[in-house]
């Protein structure tokens, strides 16, 4: 029987941090009315709308596709819109900013490092030659699409970066999402940019920063499986190191 008819509440402990006044984050407790269909995000929105308008957090779609509301919920990286208060009853629920990122304000983190890492893998199709509009669309078989489809589902929510211990230990590590997206383009039949991305892949901060803990794939809300994307490229990188790139028959030619 649902609890919508009874007056119930849950305590949310939200991380607060103001760059002008605080030297370190601290937790602030709020009592939030509970309905069993409420997401954690709705709990935060209630706080902001009725209890404390200064609580600051990112959100947008409310349906786990925009990737904005990534947070640590009881120490686990999750999308706030994709986790539900009923699973934490009787509470309290601890909501903190994503691990391994600098904190800008309350639950908002600085994504700059990730944006730079993402750009370093050239996450766009790089055909060898420009295709004229008159040539029409690219054709791709279902099998060709299968090769990269899962990796194209990334919503850049950064939960994988919060989960990955190597992101914490090695600040320059490109990280799960960036490397998964690198693989997404390398595996696309329309792309010939393998060589252009090789430098980023072959670096210590590229695929070799990963030790296959596998936590990234566990927390990914889109089942991208970045661990697989990265680790299948270690063999490629090693072969490339010994000058056996030809064996991989990569699609090359793009500048």
């Amino acid at each position: 029987m649902s609890d919508t008819t009874r007056d119930r509440s849950i305590r949310i402990e939200a991380m607060r941090y103001h760059p002008d006044t605080d030297s370190a984050p601290h937790l602030q407790t709020y009592e939030v009315p509970f309905r069993d269909d409420m997401s954690v995000l709705q709990g935060l929105q209630y706080i902001k709308d009725h209890l404390d308008g200064s609580l600051t957090f990112r959100w947008s779609c409310r349906m786990a596709i925009c990737g904005s509301c990534g947070m640590m919920i009881n120490g686990v990286p999750q999308l706030a819109c994709h986790s539900f208060l009923r699973d934490y009853m009787p509470g309290p629920v601890r909501v903190e900013a994503l691990d391994h990122f600098p904190v800008v304000h309350d639950l908002v983190i600085d994504q700059t490092a990730f944006l730079n890492k993402l750009e370093s893998v050239k996450p766009y199709l790089m055909p060898a030659t420009e295709r004229a509009l008159s040539a029409g669309a690219y054709n791709q078989t279902p099998a060709q699409m299968d090769k990269y489809h899962a990796y194209s589902q990334c919503i850049n929510c950064l939960l994988c970066y919060a989960a990955c211990p190597q992101v914490a230990l090695r600040p320059g590590f490109a990280g799960p999402a960036a490397l998964a997206l690198m693989h997404r383009y390398n595996a696309d039949s329309r792309d010939q940019g393998w060589a252009a991305r090789a430098e980023a892949a072959n670096a210590d901060d590229g695929v070799w920063g990963c030790t296959y803990v596998g936590e990234c794939s566990e927390v990914c809300p889109q089942a991208v499986d970045p661990a697989h994307a990265i680790n299948q490229n270690k063999a490629n990188s090693a072969l490339d190191f010994f000058g056996l790139r030809k064996l991989l028959s990569p699609r090359e030619g793009a500048k």
Binding site: S120, P165, L169, E199, A200, N202, A203, D204, D205, G206, W208, T211, K234, S237, A238, F241, F242
Partner: protein, 117 residues
């Protein structure tokens, strides 16, 4: 970005990991448990038999492969574990441990050659 040298140690790590995944359990079971406990006849590891095994070219190969690849695999993993626990000394630990494993492998080779054919 500088290219990583990790492939130099990663390939032996992979070979050693595969070899040990395949036969480490049975080797440990036989040499460390079944024979010393007498479940298999103790003379399976007697001096004449082991000498004959080590003098056989295939036996030499197996002994060298097991000792060398287990060490190379183990050292790679050990160094990454040290890194996991916060050791920040760049590439020095890997060079040190991997170098030690290579030296131990050379020692094994020297011994195998000394034992003769």
């Amino acid at each position: 970005m500088k290219r990583s040298n990790e492939p130099i140690t990663w390939l032996p790590f992979g070979a050693g990991g595969m070899l040990s995944a395949l036969i480490a359990p049975v080797l440990v079971l036989v040499t460390g448990l079944l024979v010393p406990l007498g479940v298999l006849p103790r003379n399976f590891m007697s001096y004449p038999r082991m000498l004959a095994f080590a003098q056989n070219p295939l036996g030499k190969l197996l002994l060298l492969a097991v000792i060398s690849l287990f060490l190379l695999h183990g050292c790679h993993r050990l160094v990454t574990t040290l890194h996991d626990y916060g050791l920040k000394a760049g590439h020095a630990p890997m060079a040190l441990f991997f170098g030690a494993a290579v030296l131990a492998s050379l020692f094994a080779l020297v011994l195998l050659l000394r034992i003769g054919f």
